[in-house]
């Protein structure tokens, strides 16, 4: 559905997007992640034909975003960050206008309007002026706008920011439902959301793609966090942890007479718990806890973007 090849975008001397390439298959829900300034929004703006690339190529549904821009824009629904709306228009009036602009007319337009108002729970505010909407309602109007033409590709920039927990849950459910028969590219800083909704993630860092993996592969390639709690001086535990093969990210804290130590292991397929347990026994320290935390997306994100 989306094929990006060697995409570059510069703003004067600043290289915002640096030779990125990726593909998104039809029906896939892909999370586009990265720290602020990583180039996510610029990439999405190039995918949606809002700005051209400095070099490289983007094809959406087989159409080139530069040469077949109109055809590409007919295929997609885009919800930009901060959801800009015309302040003087009413919600239903605005959505009807956007539907018309996207080529909908007559009964089809009315049916789609009814659907998006229901799906995005805008019934109560449909006659309200955009300028008077809360942040959450603005987000939902932006989502309804992206959905109104029933596009094959949805590009959503921070779709749940500003929503209350109940609304977040309902929007997530809606995106999951939409993702069953649509391609979705989703950018968000809420990593748990990506874990719940996306099959694959693309992590951008300093304009480049730092990782693109399925969720399972990303977790398995991320170092696990091992922890132990012993009755021992903090300095001595730290020395012991450092002596373990491949030990990185060591942290030691003391609390209530117990010393808590954590580490990650840089060696693949190596579990340091056995060696750690043996070393603690050799020192005759009392061991209260020895465990392992499976890596989360947050761990993967931090590890990749800290490189």
């Amino acid at each position: 559905m989306v094929a990006v090849e060697q995409l570059v975008k510069t703003y004067g001397p600043v290289l915002a997007v640096d030779h990125i390439s990726f593909t998104v298959q039809a029906g896939e829900v892909v999370g586009l992640l990265g720290p602020n300034g990583a180039g996510k929004t610029t990439t999405m703006r190039m995918l949606t034909c809002f700005m051209p690339a400095t070099s490289g190529r983007v094809r959406v549904a087989g159409y080139d975003v530069f040469t077949d821009s109109a055809a590409v824009r007919r295929q997609l629904g885009y919800m930009p960050e901060n959801v800009p709306l015309y302040p003087e228009m009413r919600v239903s009036e605005y959505l009807r206008y956007r539907g018309r602009l996207k080529g909908l007319r007559g009964q089809t337009l009315e049916d789609r309007l009814r659907f998006v108002i229901d799906a995005c729970e805008l019934g109560e505010v449909r006659t309200r002026i955009n300028d008077q909407l809360s942040k959450g309602n603005r987000q939902r109007v932006g989502l309804a706008d992206a959905l109104i033409s029933d596009p094959d590709l949805l590009i959503l920039d921070e779709p749940t920011i500003g929503l209350d927990p109940n609304q977040v849950r309902r929007v997530r459910e809606l995106i999951l439902e939409l993702g069953r028969h649509r391609t979705i590219i989703l950018s968000t800083h809420i990593l748990s959301e990506v874990e719940m909704m996306c099959q694959r993630v693309i992590i951008m860092h300093q304009g480049r793609i730092a990782a693109q993996e399925t969720m399972a592969n990303l977790r398995s390639s991320t170092k696990r966090l091992y922890g132990c709690e012993v009755k021992a001086p903090a300095r001595e535990l730290e020395v012991l942890l450092r002596a373990l093969p491949g030990a990185t990210d060591i942290s030691v804290t003391e609390q209530g007479g117990w010393t808590h130590g954590t580490l990650r292991c840089a060696l693949p397929d190596t579990d340091p718990r056995e060696q750690l347990g043996a070393a603690v026994r050799a020192k005759n320290w009392t061991l209260r806890l020895l465990d392992v935390h499976e890596p989360t997306l947050e761990d993967a994100f931090v590890e990749i973007t800290a490189r």
């Binding site: 034909c49 700005m51 824009r73 930009p80 800009p84 709306l85 015309y86 018309r100 602009l101």
Partner: protein
């Protein structure tokens, strides 16, 4: 074409929904009504009745107020057209919808021009009222309206171009207003330039081109002047909108 109408209707509706449209309309009709009353009173003074001058040949381009009001209202009506889209970010949703730059520019342009021309509609009452009490040269009235429509078309295109170059409505208004005043002042420049340049200044002077319309003459050269400048400004606006994507 459908997208053009969608854009056009929204822009026209916005002008009728926002206070700017009503303020501009009130100022315009107030000033023009006052000028009309003043002209009728002055031309009826005992010393003036022997001067064979039609009220409408003065009203269309013969007073300072005509030019200053047109400069101010065309700048005020066009200032938000693109500047507001850039400021609020709605340009992003607009330009990622399947609508072309030309459709966007023409939709906004014709909406502002329609609003401006519709504001002139109530002034037909002046013609009707004066026609009941005096002899009106309808040829002058007709050419005055045609000239005014062409001038409005050009000034609206100029205001739209300036609005497409900035994110600030205030800057758009101020720059448009100043450029329009400078365009009007080209007429006076011909008195201070060398004779070789005089012909050129005369041709590009808006006031000079408008003179014929005030006199009741429809000169094809003036049509070509106003239409070609308008088209050039609209073309520049399309390029300006396109250029925002390249920044």
């Amino acid at each position: 074409m459908r997208n053009f109408w969608t854009m056009y209707k929204r822009e026209l509706l916005t002008l009728y929904l926002t206070p700017t449209g009503y303020i501009v309309m009130c100022v315009f009709l107030g000033v023009l009504g006052w000028v009309f009353w003043l002209l009728v009173r002055v031309l009826n003074l005992p010393d003036m009745v022997k001067i064979d001058t039609d009220v409408f040949s003065i009203m269309f381009g013969g007073t300072f107020f005509y030019w200053i009001v047109l400069a101010a209202i065309s700048a005020a009506l066009t200032m938000r057209l693109f500047a507001e889209e850039y400021r609020t970010g709605t340009i992003e949703t607009l330009m990622t919808a399947p609508v072309s730059d030309i459709q966007v520019v023409l939709g906004k342009y014709l909406a502002a021009l329609s609003f401006l021309l519709l504001m002139w509609a109530p002034t037909v009452l002046y013609v009707v009222v004066l026609g009941r009490y005096a002899t009106v040269d309808y040829g002058v009235v007709f050419s005055g309206y045609v000239g005014t429509a062409l001038l409005c078309a050009m000034l609206t295109a100029l205001g739209l171009l300036v609005s497409s170059c900035t994110r600030s409505q205030f800057v758009a208004f101020f720059v448009s207003f100043v450029i329009i005043l400078m365009l009007f002042s080209l007429n006076f420049m011909q008195n201070i330039v060398s004779p070789g340049w005089r012909a050129l200044y005369q041709y590009v002077s808006v006031l000079e081109q408008f003179k014929e319309f005030s006199a009741g003459v429809l000169d094809s050269r003036s049509f070509v002047y106003f239409i070609s400048v308008t088209l050039l400004l609209l073309f520049a606006t399309v390029k300006s909108v396109e250029s925002h994507k390249w920044r």
